[in-house]
Symmetry: C2
Subunit: 220 residues, 2 copies
C-alpha cells in the first residue's frame, strides 16, 4: 500500500509544486487548505483547482473564528492596508500572522493521525523571510522532533524545499509540468494578480530567475 | 508591569487550579478556552464561571469546524458512546482526539504572541494517561523547545503540575480555596456530574485521596 502524506496546500507556487513532487515520488497525497480569515477566497479556489488537477483528496478547514487571536495582521484584517513593493523587514511585518506555522502544522498533524498518514509536508523554503520567526530551520527542527512524539507512530515532517530558493522550486515545477496558471499568490483579492504586492513581486522574480515562461496575467 | 500568561482553561479541576496558582504567583492571567465540537457546552460555562470568579480576561475560540479532522473520537461525535468506569487503555482510546495538545498549545501560542504574553501554561500532570501520546513529558519538552523559537521573543511553556498527581493538585487547590463547585469534569452533558464516566471517577478519587470535601453533586 502507498504511504500517505498530508500536504499543506495554499494554492501558491511552492505548495503546488510540493504536491506535484510528492505525488511524483509515489506518495498518496491528502491536501489540506486552511481558511483563517483571508480577505479573499482566491487561495482556496486555486487549491481546489490544483487538487482537482492532480486528482487528490482535498480537505478545507475553516478556522476563521481564531481571527481574534491573529489580531494585528494585514492578511486577516480589513483595517490594515497590504504593503506594496518588495518584502522588507519594516513593510512586511504587518503580514505576520502570530504562530501561524505551528497552528497550521498542528492541524495537518491532526489529519495525519486520524488518517494514519505517515507524514505531513509543507513548502518551507530558503527564501522564507527572516521576518517570519516560525520559518527558521531551528523552529522547523523542533517541530519535526515534536511530531515524532505526538502519536504512538511517529509522524514525519517533510520539508524537501527547505534549502531551495523560490526560483529553484519553479525550475523543478517546470520539469514536473505544474499548471502554474491555476495557482494564486497575490495578497489582494482582484480578478488578476496585482503584480505589485510582496508575493506578486516574488512570483514575478521566481519565473524570471528560473528563466521560465510566466503564465500569469498581471493587472499592473 | 506584570508578566502575562495564557492559560488553557477547560473548566475542570486541573486547569482551574492552575489558573488560581499562577494568579497567586503574580501573573496577569489571560484564560483561553477552545470549543472543538464538544457534545455539550458545560465545559465552557464552567470556564466562564472560573474566569469571572478570578476576574481574568477570558477568550473562547470555536474550532468546531475541524471536527472532520478529529474523526473517530467519542468526545466530538454523537455516534460513539462515552465509555463508563475507570480509565483503561482499551475503553478510553475512543476519547483520544488526534494531536489535540499540539493544536491547543499552538492556539494558545498565537494568543500569547499577539498579546506579547511571556508564557503559556497548561495543566499537564503525572496522572495523564499513557493512552495519550501527546501527554508524555518527552513531547511536552519538544513543544517547549519549539515555543522558545516560534517568535523573536521566546514564549515559555509552563507545566507546573507535570509531576503532580490529580490528588496533589486538589490538595494545592484546597489551600488556594479554588471554588471547585464551579468546575466541571464530566464527559456526559447532564445537569449534574454523572459520577460514572472516566473523568468523574478520577474526580471522585482525587477528592478522596487528598482527603478534601468534594462539593460536587453526582447523579449516581
Amino acid at each position: 500500500m502507498k504511504q500517505s502524506v498530508v500536504v499543506l496546500l495554499s494554492g501558491g507556487l511552492d505548495s503546488s509544486t510540493l504536491l506535484a513532487s510528492l505525488q511524483q515520488d509515489g506518495w498518496n497525497v491528502i491536501a489540506l487548505s486552511i481558511l483563517y480569515g483571508q480577505r479573499h477566497k482566491k487561495e482556496i479556489q486555486a487549491s481546489e483547482a490544483i487538487a482537482h488537477y492532480y486528482q487528490v483528496e482535498h480537505q478545507v478547514v475553516d478556522i476563521s473564528t481564531v481571527q481574534t487571536l491573529f489580531a494585528g495582521s494585514a492578511l486577516t484584517s480589513d483595517d490594515i492596508a497590504v504593503p506594496h513593493g518588495h518584502y522588507t523587514d519594516s513593510s512586511m511585518k504587518s503580514t505576520v500572522v502570530p504562530n501561524r506555522n505551528m497552528v497550521f502544522l498542528s492541524l495537518a498533524g491532526a489529519l495525519a493521525v486520524s488518517r494514519k498518514a505517515q507524514a505531513i509536508a509543507y513548502a518551507a523554503h530558503a527564501g522564507d523571510h527572516t521576518i517570519y520567526p516560525d520559518c527558521r530551520m531551528s523552529f522547523i527542527t523542533k517541530m519535526r522532533e515534536a511530531f515524532a512524539l505526538c502519536d504512538w507512530e511517529p509522524v514525519s515532517l517533510l520539508t524537501p524545499f527547505a534549502s531551495c530558493t523560490k526560483a529553484d522550486i519553479v525550475s523543478q515545477g517546470m520539469r514536473l509540468k505544474v499548471p502554474y496558471d491555476l495557482t494564486w499568490s497575490c495578497y489582494e483579492g482582484g480578478t488578476h494578480h496585482c503584480g505589485q504586492c510582496g508575493t506578486c513581486v516574488e512570483r514575478i522574480e521566481a519565473f524570471q530567475l528560473s528563466q521560465a515562461i510566466d503564465p500569469t496575467t498581471y493587472q499592473a
